[in-house]
Symmetry: C2
Subunit: 230 residues, 2 copies
């Protein structure tokens, strides 16, 4: 038996952003054999997919899958509908960048893969503090998904429950960055921007950029992001 | 305002089989404006997709979407892995035709589309009586999904809960057929077989065929299915 066979397996959802990279570092640090999962869902910020693959490779994931899913057919979000602009000022309530049922769909896939891999855990870098107000990032949602997942799977009904791990859920963006720095995450490789260009340069103005900029500032860590104007 | 604008909308999951066709007929009969959703998930029985589209058209769905999703990459089932044979004898426990997290993934998509359409309901033809023992067909699972869905969506958090409707869940296959016949469902257009050929002819031996054959027999309805040997 080699080293990876003796470890518990985890599926780690990887957007290629700051949070998911930190989440992968935490899963690795906890001793998991990590299988990373990204989605090409018609998002306008495709460069995050390259970032995710590069990060997974650099952080020694055992496998990295990119699943192509058609969410543009469903519509209703600035991230998947090119006719809706990404807002550059803060909005009240759930913003137009919310993608209906996105985390539910992502976690459902992760659940299927985790069951096939006989993984014990799924890691997702959701955060309910410095976040955009999306309903599917909150602890209540994760808890309800966990209960549903137990009933949904053959594994769950046979007592091998797959745990949904959210190590960042109660951390501020600055705390996430500090934890990632301590684990050696190279944040220059991560892309958070909702409208990053093809080279991965960030706009510096969207909600996700604003949260990230403030995070580096509050963490007193030099921001390695390359912005489109710089 | 035309007739369809005054009706409540429902997303109806359509496999193209006997159950989903009956489910669509019931949703229509209850007065819903129906939006049907099928998945091309790498299943070996692709002819069911043609059946689904034809049934949706014939039963006047307002829109029919076929979403292509990659589940063969996840593997682990005789329905998506061509190296695993479809069993032709009854098995104990959850059979190898179980596709990990399939209904969770299907319902998650339906949830996303329902939210965009501002639909009040999702119809799914799961059945916990004459079924293959899949965990994601049971009432407990549906109830847990419903709770999760409320927390997952913007609609749910704003008090517009999307209901998961399972009109067939406690019916026998014979009762489903009787109900469908009363609503005018043309079962000759439906395909249930896990290994139907390209023309839609059924094998008559897989689990799904066996349940269907018994259903027509018990319902005392002439079986309109075309079998490969006939």
């Amino acid at each position: 038996m080699n080293a990876s066979e003796s470890k518990n397996k985890a599926v780690v959802l990887m957007s290629g952003g700051l949070d998911s990279a930190t989440c992968l570092a935490i899963a690795r640090d906890q001793g998991f054999d990590c299988y990373t999962l990204s989605f090409d869902y018609g998002q306008r910020h495709k460069s995050e997919l390259h970032a995710a693959a590069k990060l997974a490779l650099g952080m020694q994931a055992s496998d990295h899958k990119i699943i192509r899913i058609d969410m543009s057919g469903i519509g209703g979000s600035a991230l998947t509908d090119m006719d809706i602009a990404v807002p550059e000022v803060e909005s009240d309530g759930v913003p137009i960048t919310y993608v209906p049922a996105r985390n539910t769909i992502f976690l459902s896939y992760a659940l299927g893969w985790a069951e096939v891999l006989q993984a014990s855990s799924i890691f997702i870098g959701v955060n309910a503090l410095d976040y955009s107000g999306y309903p599917d990032c909150r602890p209540d949602f994760i808890e309800a998904f966990q209960k549903m997942a137990k009933l949904a799977t053959k594994a769950g009904t046979e007592g091998q429950e797959i745990g949904i791990e959210t190590p960042l859920i109660h951390l501020s963006k600055a705390e996430i960055i500090q934890q990632g720095m301590a684990l050696g995450v190279d944040y220059s490789q991560t892309i958070s921007c909702y409208q990053a260009d093809l080279e991965g340069k960030a706009c510096g103005r969207c909600d996700s950029c604003r949260l990230r900029i403030k995070g580096f500032f509050d963490a007193k860590v030099s921001d390695p992001t390359i912005y489109q104007q710089s």
